[in-house]
């Protein structure tokens, strides 16, 4: 047995490398799950050939195909902004994974302000979407980008409020601290309130990620692909498909951490502790992904103004009320 001692800096590099491997692999698997779940809901088989067994290599093959595609930048586009935009979208998604605790000690950096970091970084991607839409010199892209910006402003608030309520319940902003504070997962305890906060978070997250039924920014039957209409090849994949899948998994992981008790067993019962935390985390995150996809393929798309009305007239007042209720629970509850 060889013992390896690493300095803090070396540890950080190793952890970052692990993240750099986990995220693309997760996105590939997530893309495959997306294909398959959609297909089975729609009475189809989905990819069946690539790689042999049930088309497991389909997303990989797609990725290789996109790598070989010509990278076209429209003549009238603002070239530097246009080229930069996919990176501005993708890198923040990558950064989200830095503070999510996969197990008690398996976390790149347990920031004291982890939750705050998540919320702040999570919104940066929208700047990339705006950049993409504006620099493409395409009217559809512009409409999509503006819709995306409007959606971000409206739906950032419910997410922030539900996260703030969680911080109040846990008494900390550190994500490990939040998980440790959940003897019972927050979705079950406080009863009712936790579930309401979870639903609020779910709707806000779906709107922020522009997943159907809130996918007006990309709305392929209206705006072709919205801000990404002019993108091709790897830029399209990284800015759009990869970022979308990685973002979805990241939000599923955040939801797991905040509401489902992260790496801890779903109920505090002794025998369940045998199952390792990584597995708990993985199962819960998969469930969240499944839930997001299930909603995604069931509903028609809302209209932008209807979405805004829903946010400002229903969700935001509701979230304010929930903050008050949470405060009362923390002060006077058991």
């Amino acid at each position: 047995m060889i013992e390896i001692t690493l300095t803090a800096w070396q540890m950080l590099v190793v952890k970052l490398l692990i993240i750099l491997i986990i995220v693309p692999v997760g996105a590939l698997v997530g893309g495959y799950v997306l294909h398959k779940e959609m297909a089975h809901m729609q009475h189809r088989l989905g990819p069946m050939y690539a790689g042999g067994w049930h088309g497991w290599a389909q997303t990989l093959a797609d990725g290789i195909k996109f790598a070989y595609k010509e990278d076209i930048i429209p003549a009238s586009a603002d070239k530097r902004v246009f080229s930069l935009a996919p990176a501005v979208i993708f890198v923040p998604v990558l950064l989200l994974y830095l503070v999510i605790p996969i197990d008690r000690n398996l976390i790149v950096e347990d920031l004291d302000v982890g939750l705050f970091f998540l919320l702040a970084i999570g919104s940066v991607g929208s700047i990339g979407v705006l950049m993409a839409g504006w620099s493409s010199a395409n009217k559809y892209a512009l409409i999509g980008a503006l819709r995306s910006a409007g959606q971000l402003i409206a739906y950032e608030l419910p997410i922030v409020f539900s996260a703030a309520a969680i911080a109040m319940l846990a008494g900390t902003l550190s994500l490990v601290g939040i998980v440790e504070a959940q003897d019972w997962p927050f979705i079950l305890w406080p009863p009712g309130l936790g579930l309401a906060l979870f639903l609020l978070f779910l709707v806000g997250a779906m709107a922020e990620m522009a997943l159907p039924p809130f996918d007006m920014p990309v709305a392929e039957s209206e705006l072709i692909t919205g801000p990404f209409t002019e993108y091709t090849g790897m830029r399209f994949i990284f800015g759009f498909f990869f970022a979308e899948t990685a973002h979805m998994i990241a939000f599923a992981a955040i939801g797991t951490t905040l509401f489902l008790g992260g790496y801890k067993p779903i109920v505090p019962w002794g025998p369940l502790d045998v199952i390792p935390g990584v597995l708990w985390f993985f199962v819960k995150t998969s469930f969240m992904v499944f839930l997001l996809l299930w909603i995604r393929f069931s509903f028609p798309r809302l209209r932008e103004d209807q979405l805004q009305k829903f946010a400002w007239k229903v969700l935001i007042p509701l979230s304010l009320v929930l903050i008050l209720v949470t405060g009362a629970w923390v002060l006077y509850g058991p």
Binding site: H43, R44, P212, S221, R301, R303, E304
Partner: protein, 389 residues
Amino acid sequence: MTIKDPELQNLQDSSAFATEVSEGRLVTEQMLLNVGPQHPATHGVFRLLATIDGERIVRAEPIVGYMHRGYEKLVEQRDYRQITNLISRMDWLSGINNELPLALALEELMEIEVPPRAQYLRVALAEMNRILNHLMFFQSFSAELGAITPTFYAFREREDIQYAMETVTGGRMHFGFFRPGGLKEDVPRGFTAMALAAVRKVIKRLPDYEDLLTGNEIFKQRTIDIGVLDKEVAYSYGVSGPIGRGSSIDMDVRRDEPYLVYDEFDFDVCRGTHGDCFDRFWVLLHEVIESAKIVEQALAGLPPGPIMGKVPRVVEAPKGEVYIRTENPLGELGLYLVSDGGKRPYRIKIRTPSFSNVSALPHVLENTLVADMIAILGSFFFVLGDVDR
């Protein structure tokens, strides 16, 4: 930015593009948006020149002609046997229903008696074709509203009917099965049972569609009171078919001027009340049930006998003219045939339903939102080949 298209240039100069400036108010500028000719919501090469202010559509003008294939001229150079296959390609979703008026016109000119078995089979096939067409628009409409799952359910049901029709005609889109005087050949053994099973399956599964879409709150919000087509406007543009009936126009050629043996069957004419997207969609969905009823009756009462009347070896229509109206899946189809006595028609003029229906679009699209525009385009069921011919 310089604009090369003179048509666009004119629009640019016109007052629609004057920037609204008033003190203390936000200055907005209107923008031209070309929806199509290549756009996912137009199902083909249809162009809509929209002037938009933010997301609001100030004016929309449909521009047709990208799909013009000159069929009306082309048929003057072909003899009657060949025309059948040209005409079935006008509206590629309902080939059988396009072949029908030509056969009827020739039979009237040449005074051919069509045996009852052929008449019944024609009705059954035409109605099955109508179901195929309606299910196709059901799927495209739901896909345009972002509900991708019902899309595939519609395809699943279409496949059974498609297969039944394939066993009869050998084709899946362009059947070429109706001849002046009757049908190309008799149906194979077992067809009746197969077709009945397929049609009954559709009826059985339609409630699922209702649950998935028409009962969905988001779907209601996206369609109710959106894109209202008034009855008067619909009348003045000659809008017919499911769209006209959605605007509560009480008209169906099958009932009003029965051709073939439609007068022997019992079916309802579905009508909407408001003329909004929801009504048009509702009518479309319920016409599937009515068509299925007709197919059941026609196949149940299918008489034995020949499938071809007495037709001369060379089809030559005597000198004269004839106008035939039929109820195409998308609306009323009128075929005006002038013959100078030869093997070829002197002139054929076809009034296609899609063209008239699309003409009413600017009225409906005015003052809607971009997202509504897609819903309206989806609920104005039209086939591009049928618009341009």
